[in-house]
């Protein structure tokens, strides 16, 4: 159990900088999810904490120690890899007990610890099997078992669920979260799946091109995204971003006037599809040319009158298209309008 601190951490591969100064303070026992699109540097960041990549600049601290120059085994961490990285020539029992054996724990204690972990992960019946004779979900559990028996200060996860099918993913997501809460071990969890991030995180780090664009609780990130990128990355379907001009009474969108908090200047305006509602007297006129029924609600795709920009709205219930395009009046609560700087993309 420990805190983790990243202080202006940078990583360069040759001349290219892939992590461009990340600052993060993780409290003891906290579950942090690092989320971002492919190639943004999530794995690299995690691997620097693990000691599998050197830190080019800045400082990584675990507990009250600077660990930049420590080997992985001296950092008191454990890690679950995307491909599980089980030892193929060892049984499940040996896989889980390997770290304990190296730590020179007495045999009977190892057996007890392995049995305990196996019971917790429902692996008791598979202890004598080889990894290749297990299903993906079971392998995932073995990797978890290997991570928990050593009782590390910090858990690191690199997309541990991405090789599982959707249903198992939901189940394992809950199991991992419960297990972490029960053991109270600080966790850093990398994923590119924003649903995983939203559901598991105490706080999440949204990364983009080597920069931590926003760090906050899932709801903070959802309700007040710090940048256009975060706004569009978190939330599904993704937020509509439109060019608008702020006026004293709200925002001017083409020839439509949206009431809202006053301001001035050219901005990017964000509206989440789920915050739009049908309203005959609403200020927004939308042309709908595609409806995607999801059961509980329907996604309407089209564009806003006078803007030509693609626009998505989510309306409750079932919606049946009758013709080629349909017209629809919508309104949005002023508190659900997001304004971003036109050039920097930062929240205003």
């Amino acid at each position: 159990m420990a805190t983790v601190d990243l202080i202006d951490v940078r990583k360069r591969f040759g001349a290219t900088e892939v992590i461009k100064g990340v600052n993060l303070t993780v409290a003891d026992g906290e579950f942090i999810v690092i989320v971002g699109p492919s190639g943004c540097g999530k794995s690299t960041l995690l691997r620097m904490v693990a000691g599998l990549e050197t830190v080019s600049d800045g400082e990584v601290r675990i507990g009250d120690r600077r660990v930049n120059d420590l080997e992985p085994m001296d950092r008191d961490i454990s890690m679950v890899f995307q491909n599980y990285a089980l030892y193929p020539h060892m049984s499940v029992r040996q896989n889980i007990g390997y770290g304990l054996k190296i730590a020179k724990m007495p045999k009977d204690q190892i057996a007890a610890k392995v049995a305990e972990a196996a019971a917790l992960l429902q692996l008791t019946d598979y202890l004598d099997r080889r990894p290749r004779d297990l299903s993906g979900g079971q392998r995932q559990r073995v990797a978890m078992g290997r991570a928990i028996v050593r009782e590390p200060s910090v858990f690191l996860f690199d997309e541990p669920l991405s090789n599982l099918d959707a249903k198992l993913r939901v189940q394992m997501r809950l199991e991992i979260k419960e297990l972490q809460a029960k053991l109270g071990i600080t966790a850093l969890y990398v994923t590119h799946d924003q649903v995983e991030a939203m559901t598991m995180a105490d706080r999440m780090v949204v990364m983009h091109a080597g920069v931590a664009e926003q760090i906050g609780t899932p709801l903070e990130v959802y309700e007040s995204p710090a940048t256009v990128f975060v706004a569009q990355f978190i939330g599904s379907p993704s937020m509509n971003i439109l060019e608008a001009t702020r006026t004293a009474g709200g925002a001017q969108l083409g020839d439509m006037m949206l009431p809202g908090p006053g301001g001035s200047g050219s901005v990017q305006l964000g509206i989440r599809p789920e915050h739009l509602s049908r309203d005959e007297a609403g200020p927004l006129q939308m042309h709908v040319n595609l409806a995607e029924p999801l059961g509980a609600n329907t996604l309407l795709h089209g564009w806003l009158a006078g803007t030509q920009l693609p626009f998505t709205a989510s309306v409750p219930g079932v919606w049946r298209m009758t013709g080629g395009t349909e017209e629809l009046q919508l309104s949005v609560d002023p508190e659900h309008l997001h304004f971003f700087d036109k050039t920097t993309g930062r929240r205003l």
Binding site: A50, G51, L52, E71, P72, M73, I77, S78, M79, F81, N83, A85, L86, Y87, P88, H89, Y98, G99, I102, A103, R146, R150
Partner: protein
């Protein structure tokens, strides 16, 4: 895929069967047949002796000594060619800069023909003009493999293993490269340092390659080292380096005792067959594919 009829499958295996027949089964059959006779000194007639040749060989102390020589020689060659190869491959695997040059240099010795390698080594260790023996002499070590059986054995082992190191290196290197990086990393996180990882993770994962090389190198030591032995020691001194294959040649072509030579070939065939079966039965159990 399944075949209907039997013509196509037969055609497909025909070349293999033909080659095996011409170059293996026919000579082997001939050897077995000849091993049952003693030809007269002029080669004009053959006298049937049944298993006489075999009885004679198995009671002959020179022949039995040759068995022992072969066992020592092939064990030494296999170890001397595999252990350094593995060590070099591990280093190459860790190298990031200059790995290409290093690999190329390591592969060169393999391109040298065994007999040429034999001559090279012979030259270096020549008792009168060899540079190595001269230096050994300066150090107070008297090198004379022409008289000293142990030294002769050492020399043929080194000369035979030298080129093989490259061959084994290539296989070990490729196998090392295919060990998943994340498995090694997981072991590092689990607390295993370099050598611990090597013994408990890397080596077991290399075992299919090691097993394959073991079989191949033993067969090499048995048969293909003929050129080296022939150029360096000619089987001497006092048969100290006469391995079974060399004895087949020495007794058959030099000594003109074709019946005994044929019987020796048959025994050799059986020994190699048994050895391979044994390897598959006992060693393979410990291999993790």
């Amino acid at each position: 895929m399944t075949f209907k009829g039997w013509i196509l499958p037969l055609l497909l295996i025909a070349p293999q069967v033909l080659i095996s027949a011409v170059f293996f089964f026919y000579p082997a059959g001939q050897a077995i047949w000849q091993s049952l006779f003693i030809p007269d000194p002029f080669g004009l007639s053959m006298q049937w002796v049944g298993l006489g040749n075999f009885e004679y060989l198995l009671g002959n102390k020179y022949y039995l000594a040759s068995f022992w020589t072969t066992a020592v020689f092939s064990t030494l060659v296999t170890v001397t060619s595999m252990v350094p190869a593995l060590f070099l491959a591990v280093i190459a695997d860790r190298l990031i800069k200059g790995a290409g040059t290093y690999r190329t240099l390591l592969i060169w010795p393999y391109a040298v023909a065994p007999a040429v390698a034999g001559v090279l080594w012979l030259f270096m260790f020549n008792t009168r003009v060899g540079i190595v023996s001269w230096y050994l002499g300066l150090l107070g070590y008297d090198w004379n493999h022409v008289l000293d059986g142990t030294q002769a054995m050492g020399l043929v082992v080194v000369a035979s293993s030298w080129g093989r190191i490259s061959y084994n290196f290539l296989f070990f290197y490729a196998a090392l490269q295919s060990v998943p990086k994340s498995v090694i990393e997981a072991a590092a996180i689990d607390g295993a340092r370099f050598w611990r990882r090597f013994w408990t993770i890397v080596l077991p994962l290399l075992s299919p390659t090691t097993f394959f090389l073991l079989v191949v190198n033993i067969i090499y030591a048995f048969f293909e080292t003929f050129g080296v032995i022939h150029t360096i020691t000619g089987g001497g001194p006092q048969q100290a380096t006469t391995i079974l294959v060399y004895k087949v040649y020495a007794d058959g072509f030099v000594g003109q005792d074709l019946g005994s030579s044929a019987a020796q070939s048959v025994i050799l065939l059986v020994v190699v067959g048994l050895l391979t079966v044994l390897q598959f039965k006992f060693v393979e159990k410990r291999v993790h594919y």
